[in-house]
Structures are given as structure tokens and as C-alpha cells.
Amino acid sequence: MSVALETRVEATQAEGYFGNPWRRPRILQAITAGYLLWSLLPVVVAVIYSFNAGRSRIVWQGFSLRWWTDDPTDSILHDPAMRSAMTQTYKLAILTVLIAVPIGTLFAIGIDRWHGRPARGANFTMLLSFVVPEIILGVSLYILFTNLISIPLGTPAQLLGLTTFQLSYPVVIVRARLLTIGPEYEEAAMDLGAAPGQAIRRILLPLIAPAVMASVALVFADVVDDFVTVQALQAGASSETLAIKIYSASRASPTPEINAAATVMLVTTLLVVAGGLLIYRRFNRGQTVAGASDFMQI
């Protein structure tokens, strides 16, 4: 072996573990493992304790379906207040998705191609609505609805508020996707004789479909989770959502019924996300472009 090579080998061996640039970073590994545990363990515990036989959420008193179906007044099956909260939550989620995603997608397409000052202004406003602390939005809308535009508080107000807050999500996600697509496909289609509307419908929309699916899932999950806006614009028991129930219960005397309700929220959201992923996979079998990364976009 040449001297240089020998030296190199010796150097690597000498430095041992820390010398190898391709080693497995143990510290980072530990940190990541620790983080994942910290992040998910409480949720797992909460889900498990929804099956607690006793009233406590930290002291295990046996397995039971009491809070799910058995208890005649305090199980989520038999508690009308809880059922109404669940209905309200999903009602708001579905309606918000139906309104926010189309408007947001159209906005993203338009803003991507439109240049000029007013475009930048519109874009700025949209981005602003993305990072503004939710309490500002909630309180502003509350003040708006109780002073100027008399929209009744409760479901109508909550719907408008949620849509406003969620509008920027589809925009950001679809826009990110559009940036990677570019105008070539539509132009090719139009060179081949398609009208602009056709080009958009048949070329562009399918291309951005994964991003749209991702925003559907994200908006849905976000609305199910939303607390500040629905609390600011609520009008009584009928417009309370699961998030509000969890919040009030955790400041009072929570029973594992809340754990059960939260588990339901968790499962349905995960189902929706998984469903979205599956639908996307089905419709995009040919595409290998990392559409899944759209689900990772914020």
C-alpha cells in the first residue's frame, strides 16, 4: 500500500467511531427516538385510559367500555351533549373543507400565474391570514359579527370564521405543487388545440390533485382540532365542538369520557388522512412524482 493510503487508513482507524463520516449518528438517533416517545406517548396513554374502569385518567382501575357505551349518562354513546358536540365538529369540518379547498385552490392557480402589484398584495394578505395568531382572527370576527354584520353566532359564524382561517392552507399547499409543475403541460395541450378551460380541467387539475387531496385532509384535521375560533364564535351548547368540550372538561373535572371523545377525534382524522392517501394513490398510479410530500407540506 502507498504511504498516503496507509496514513488514511490509520487515520480512520485511529479516530475510530468519530472518524467515520458515514457512521450512524448515535446522539441524533437517541434524540429522535426520545422525541418520538415524548411526542406520542401521552397520546397513547390518553387512548388507553379511555378504557379505564374508574373515573381517573391516570390511575388505572381496570378495563371497561364504560365511557364508550356502558355508562347510561356519561358514556359518549349515551351522552347527548357529547353526541351533539361530535356532530357539530364533523359538520363544521366537512362544510369548511367544501368551501375552503375550492376557493383556496382557485386562488392558488390564479396567484401563481398572475403577476403584478395587486397580485403581490393579494398574496401578502393570504400569507398574513396564515400566520396571524388565531385569537386575533377569532376576536376580530366576533367583534365584526356583533357590531357590523349581524351574522348569528353559532354554526354560521363558526363556519365563516373557520373557512377564513383555513383558506390559506390549500393555497400554500397547491401553490407549492404548482411551482414544481410549470406551464409547459397546459401550453402543450393548447398547442394541440385545447381551449384554456379544457387545458386546466384535463391537464392541470389532475396534476395538482395530490396537493388538493392533501389540503382536504389537512383542513379537515385542522377544523376538527380547532378551538380558538369556534370558542370565540360559539353560541351555546348546540354549537359546542369536541375541542371545546375537551377544553372545558380539562379545566373542570375530566372523566375518561373525554379521553374516549378525543380518541374518536383521533381515529376519524387518521381515517380521513389515510383515505385521502389511498384515493390519491389510486388516481395517480402512474405518477412517481413525490406527491406524498404534499402531505408533508404545510
Binding site: P21, P25, L28, Q29, I31, T32, L36, W38, S39, L40, P42, V43, V45, A46, Y49, R57, I58, I103, G104, F107, G110, I111, R113, W114, H115, P118, A122, T125, L128, S129, V131, V132, P133, E134, I135, I136, V139, S140, I143, L144, T146, N147, T163, L167, P183, E187, M190, P196, D225, F227, S250, R251, I258, A262, T269, L270, F295, M296, Q297, I298
Partner: protein
Amino acid sequence: MQSGVWYPRWYWPSFTITGIVWLTVLFVLPAYVVLSVAFGAVDFEHFGQPVPYYAPWWWSFSTFNETLTQFYQGSAIYQAPLIRTFVYVSSASVICLVLGYAVAYFTARCTSKNKGLILVLLVAPLWISYLMRIYAWQGLLDAGGPLNVVLDPFGFGDTDFLSGLHITVILGLVYGYIPFMILPLYASLDRIQESLLEAGRDLGANGRQTFWRVTFPLSRPAILTGIVIVTLPMFGDYYTNDLLGSSKTSMFGNLISAQREFTGGSTRMASLVLILSVIVMVPMMYYLRETRRAAERGA
């Protein structure tokens, strides 16, 4: 857009019109109404309902001034929450950044076998309700609960973590917002091509140098995005403190939410919201300027 196709000038803007109208009515207009209420009067005869003055020349700044002076004059009762909010948000953001970067880096660059699984686990908190996660923590932190048991050998067996400790609220904020930091960082780190790093190494840089001179600068835009997405909403957070803290750890958001129950509270809420908006605007403008510069540089 150089192409052989001609679009009418109104074509693309028309796509945005619904969004623009929506935002104008439900985002921009409420901002004006908030101004009108903050600078309006209070009807003490009728449970302190706000009386908005819509025309700027009637604006009265007395209530607003009252609120503003609470920050620096006299007993300055709002000063402590304001300072606390800044301290909490910056501490939490720093922790989010450092911890989040480590996790994102590891997932993006150091795993290949389990990458998918780890990614799913990282993304999962986004889909799980924030309230549920904090609620779960509340249970664990309860006096005499699991955390006390685990930390007993370290002397923390008797600490009531929910009795208004700063660290509880800070870590609570980190817990809630860190997924929003990890994801843009991951996305950006994932995209850095291996060849760039190898090139650096071929030129003689060791691991650490490669990181600081190649990887880190390439991930800067994502760091900025992550910080903005995490820090700005945190300024208005009040429910983390409601669930994990006490009045001694109250934040700016708690000041706003406390006014809800007072007669005359709406006007004060509006003033506080105004002040918070101004505070949040500054970093927001900086962020937008940076992204525009970056876009210009990139294009």
C-alpha cells in the same frame, strides 16, 4: 410567462376573485371594525357594549390609551404578561428549532430503512388534536401522577407541575408547535443532494464543516419558514397556559381572553388585539421581505 398562448388580462386574476372577496370581507374588514371598536366608545348603560365609531374623524383614543398605558405606566399590570410572552415564545422557539433541527436532520439524512415509518410518526401529531395532546399531558403532569413518580429519584417527586411553573408552559408550547418546525426543515434537508455533500468532503471538509458550510446554509429558508410558522401563532396562544399553567404564567393571549367576561371588555379586547397585531406584524414584514428577496435571488 413567455408562451405562444394569449390569455386575456383578466383570466388569471379571475381565479382569485372569490378568495380576494372572501378575505376582504372576513379578514380585512374585521380589522377595520376592530379599529373602530378600539377607538370607539363604551356604552356603560347597557352592560358595557362597545359603540364602534366607523368614521376615523370620530375616533377617540381614551380607552385605547388606558389599555396602552397599562403596559408601561403606573402599576403597569400588563407589563409582566408581555415580557413573559416574549420570554416564553423565544425560549420555546429556540428549543423547537434546535430539537426540531436535530430530529429533521436525522430523519432526512441518516435513515433509509425506517424513514417512512419515522416520517409518519413525525407527521402524526399534526393530525392529532393539539388540545388532546395537551390534555394528555395535563393528566401525566397531575400532582402525584406518573411524571412525579418517574422524577422522584431526581427530587421532583413532590413538585406540582401544574401549579404555575414557567417550564411547564414553555415545554407545553414546544410540545404543541414543534411539528410545524420539523416538517419544513425535513422537506428542505431531504432535498439536499448527496452529491453536494460529497463534493464538500472531497474538497477536504470534515463532517462538522460540511454541515455548517453546506447543509445549514441550504436549509436557511426552511429555518425561516419554520420560525415564522411557529413563533407568530405562539404569541396569541392562551389555552396552553389555561391548561398547564396558572395566573402567574399568563400570556398576552390570556389578557385578551380574560376581557371576555367583563363589562366594557369588548373594547379592551379590541385594543389588546390591535397591540398584538402590531407586535406580530414586525416579524411578519421581515419574513415577507426575506422570502421575496430569496425568490428574486432564486429566479
